[in-house]
């Protein structure tokens, strides 16, 4: 049992943190957000140069063979900087699906391009009715000779507006919520019959609604075995939850630092407001929530690589519950302690609050996962004695 980072991991942490400290201050971020893409292609190039975009991929695919710990390091730093780029969409989600389900031809064609920053991907999975059920898919894929024809509508596709290609989930058999019968397809963003409506999300990032009307793809667009995609989708979502937990922890730490600085410097009644015990205790409540979140983040990072899907599923529900609750506490108290300034768009604090709120809604909020845990027997690590 060891929480220490290796020498390489420490170097990675230093270089990522330096990149954001030097190139990603809040004013710069505002500029990125206001640009046509809503994020920075220059920053994306720098991610590529640092090796962040290929981090989880094998070396033969232009990557570094990193695991959940490396992803945790990167996304925690992104959480602090409130990074806008499509890292989760391209590297963690779509990259993860390719890594776990792609054949060698698909992997060697696409992963190196993700790693060098020239290919953007997104994962088009959720639908209007699916809420947090990963098995709820009504988009259909019908085999017609040598091609599949996709019809349906995908919703809240993270960074789906800028993706060059989409990984689309579609039903090849079974009923709406069957875990069997789901397949994944690589679809070109410019394919005939595919239309999209991009928009900004409340945290300043981007998403898209995707319409698929008679979109034809060849059989080699199939990612993994037809009808057997659910375990892959679940595994990749678990990896995304672990990555988001670290991003949330980064955001919480930064918001707390800002808040404590504010308590030290803001004066009322002739004294710094941090001298008031009632405010001190609220700042401590934030810290406690952060330490809980950070602790469960390590658990999530450890369990992201777990092969037993049921154990991993339970663990991630515990992670997402704690992260959601801690994020809520930190976001709300942090905003409250700043007083009026915390309400303004021009101040950074509120943007952490908004990102934390969005992170809670991604892949199941705290209440949803608590309900899932109530159906299991509670969170329990594999091998742990009950």
């Amino acid at each position: 049992m060891d929480f220490e980072l290796s020498e390489e991991q420490r170097l990675l942490k230093d270089s990522v943190e330096r990149l954001f400290a030097d190139r990603y201050d809040f004013e710069t971020r505002k500029r990125f957000m206001a640009s046509a893409d809503g994020w920075s292609r220059d920053a994306w190039k720098q991610y590529a140069e640092l090796g962040l975009l290929g981090l989880p991929f094998d070396e033969k695919h232009g990557g570094f063979g990193g695991g959940p710990v490396e992803t945790m390091i990167v996304t925690e730093a992104m959480g602090r900087a409130l990074a806008l780029e499509p890292y989760l969409a391209t590297v963690v989600l779509a990259g993860g699906l390719l890594r776990h389900a792609g054949n060698e031809a698909q992997r060697s064609a696409l992963l190196p391009k993700i790693a060098d920053g020239t290919l953007l991907l997104a994962f088009a999975h959720a639908e209007r009715q699916s809420r947090y059920d990963l098995g709820d898919v009504t988009t259909t894929a019908k085999k017609n000779g040598a091609v599949f024809v996709l019809d349906g509508a995908k919703s809240l596709v993270l960074h789906g507006d800028c993706a060059d290609q989409l990984v689309v989930s579609a039903r090849v058999s079974g009923g709406r919520k069957d875990r069997e019968g789901i397949a994944l397809f690589l679809v070109d963003g410019k394919a005939n019959g595919l239309s999209r409506r991009g928009y900004q999300t409340v945290d300043g990032l981007r998403a898209a609604e995707i319409m698929l009307e008679g979109v034809k793809v060849n059989a080699d667009a199939l990612l993994g075995e037809s009808g057997k995609a659910f375990p892959t989708i679940q595994r990749v979502v678990h990896e995304a939850i672990a990555a988001l937990a670290a991003e949330a922890v980064g955001a919480m730490i930064s918001m707390h630092e800002m808040t404590v600085d504010f308590l030290r410097t803001r004066k009322q009644f002739g004294v710094p407001i941090g001298s008031f015990q009632v405010l001190q205790h609220k700042a401590v409540d934030m810290l406690i929530a952060i330490e809980q979140a950070r602790s469960i983040m390590f658990y999530g990072t450890m369990m992201a690589a777990e092969d037993d899907a049921a154990e991993r599923d339970k663990a991630m529900s515990a992670v997402k519950t704690q992260i959601g609750r801690s994020g809520e506490i930190v976001g709300r108290i942090g905003t409250q302690l700043h007083g009026g300034i915390g309400m303004t768009m021009e101040y950074k604090g509120g943007h952490y609050f908004k990102r934390l709120t969005v992170i809670d809604t991604l892949f199941g909020n705290a209440d949803h996962h608590l309900k899932m845990l109530a159906r299991f027997d509670g969170p329990r690590a594999k091998g742990e004695v009950s």
Partner: protein, 399 residues
């Protein structure tokens, strides 16, 4: 980073678990599971079983009877002991005064007291709090006046846990009235049989008798019972209180108590179905379990940090104390919800397994409400949760 235990550590866990399984007396184990209070004989008897095994004071230096275990092994031992469940060691000897004597005591004190602490030949209690000195402990008024080769102690201590069983008490007393309040305090060991020492019981809201008032009226103590230097007692007390936080999170105990809540909720019917089938109730349990998992990971982080050599009292201990106490209380609330209306009967014989007349209601019911009331203490003792927040605000946040 690797959060798994090594094969050697897992083997150690098996060894420890087998020992607890074999050696915790059945009646003691049953009382702990059911939330019944242990007698002095049961507490002492268990400690002697541990001492025979050489495990009474694992955290002490090896030449004083410690085991030389790593901090991870100590953690495993703690967790297995809590989950067995086996009695907690009485902290006042092995966790509190023992380490103080080891760190600051004279050779003579070490020789005289340490082996007797390990075997509980001397049962110790703690003379810190006073009626006017709770959170503001340094304001204490009990005095020790040096007269020749003895101290004469006058004053009153309170909340003295197990004073009714104790052979010895370690006392913080003022030896210099003129000095700043933290600087005039000494740490003195007092034989409870000394003339002038009186113990008066305090009954707590759960109906139990754990704590007492202890009065000192012209109590004459040999000067050799002073620990370390005169007027340095506050430093020793701070050292002692930082040790008190070890294991304060009570993760294993909470795991065992959640297991028990689930077990009882599987028996107790709510309408036609066991309460455990109610989704709302299951969500409440799951909610506590999530927090407990976070707490367990936090505890492991503290244990790992300690292993890497950083032995400073960690501000994380305050967080462990706050969350650990909240979780213990939450579980006692869940148990109260399970027992439902049979929380009502007051049962003066709840701790007696050999009673003649059965209790009113289910035989597991009567300790539950008292435990719920008793658990309110955990956010009060050892520095209230509010004092812990003051400590964090100052030491960690610099406010």
């Amino acid at each position: 980073m690797d959060l798994r235990f090594t094969p050697e550590e897992n083997a150690f866990r098996e060894e420890v678990r087998a020992f607890f399984k074999k050696n915790v007396p059945e009646q003691t184990r049953r009382k702990l599971i059911e939330g019944r209070r242990l007698s002095k004989d049961e507490i002492v008897g268990w400690q002697r079983i541990l001492n025979k095994q050489g495990w009474a004071v694992p955290h002490w230096p090896k030449d004083h009877g410690g085991t030389g275990w790593t901090s991870t092994q100590q953690y495993i031992f703690l967790e297995e002991r809590e989950k067995a469940p086996a009695p907690e060691p009485v902290a006042f000897g092995s966790q509190m005064v023992g380490p103080v004597i080891i760190a600051f005591g004279s050779e003579q004190q070490k020789k005289k007291f340490l082996p007797r602490i390990a075997n509980v030949d001397d049962f110790w209690c703690q003379g810190f709090s006073e009626p006017g000195s709770g959170s503001d402990l340094a304001s204490l008024k009990t005095t020790a006046k040096r007269e020749g080769n003895q101290y004469v102690i006058n004053g009153q201590k309170t909340w003295t846990t197990y004073a009714q069983y104790a052979d010895w008490i370690f006392v913080l007393a003022r030896t210099d009235a003129a000095a700043k309040k933290q600087e005039g305090i000494s740490f003195i060991l007092v034989d409870m049989k000394t003339p002038g020492v009186t113990v008066r019981p305090i009954q707590t809201i759960d109906g139990g008798h754990e704590v007492n008032e202890v009065f000192f009226d012209e109590v004459k103590v040999p000067a050799e019972n002073l620990v370390g230097q005169e007027n340095k007692g506050w430093d020793y007390a701070k050292f002692l209180l930082s040790n008190e936080r070890t294991g304060i999170a009570r993760v294993g105990i909470s795991k065992e108590r959640i297991r028990r809540v689930k077990e009882l909720a599987s028996i107790e019917l709510d309408g036609d179905k066991p309460l455990i089938d109610d989704e709302r109730f299951r969500m409440k349990i799951a909610s506590v379990e999530v927090e407990l998992k976070s707490l367990e990971m936090l505890q492991l982080r503290v244990v790992a940090a300690r292993r890497t050599g950083d032995n400073k009292p960690d501000p994380a201990s305050s967080i462990l104390k706050i969350k650990g106490s909240e979780i213990q209380q939450a579980i006692s609330e869940l148990a109260l919800e399970v027992v439902g209306p049979y929380a009502m009967p007051n049962d003066p014989h709840q701790d007696d397994l050999l009673r003649n007349e059965p209790p009113v209601g289910p035989d597991w019911a009567s300790p539950i409400a008292p435990t719920y009331f008793n658990m309110r203490k955990v956010s009060i003792y050892g520095g209230t949760n509010e004092i812990q927040k003051n400590i964090i605000a100052k030491a960690v946040l610099g406010l």
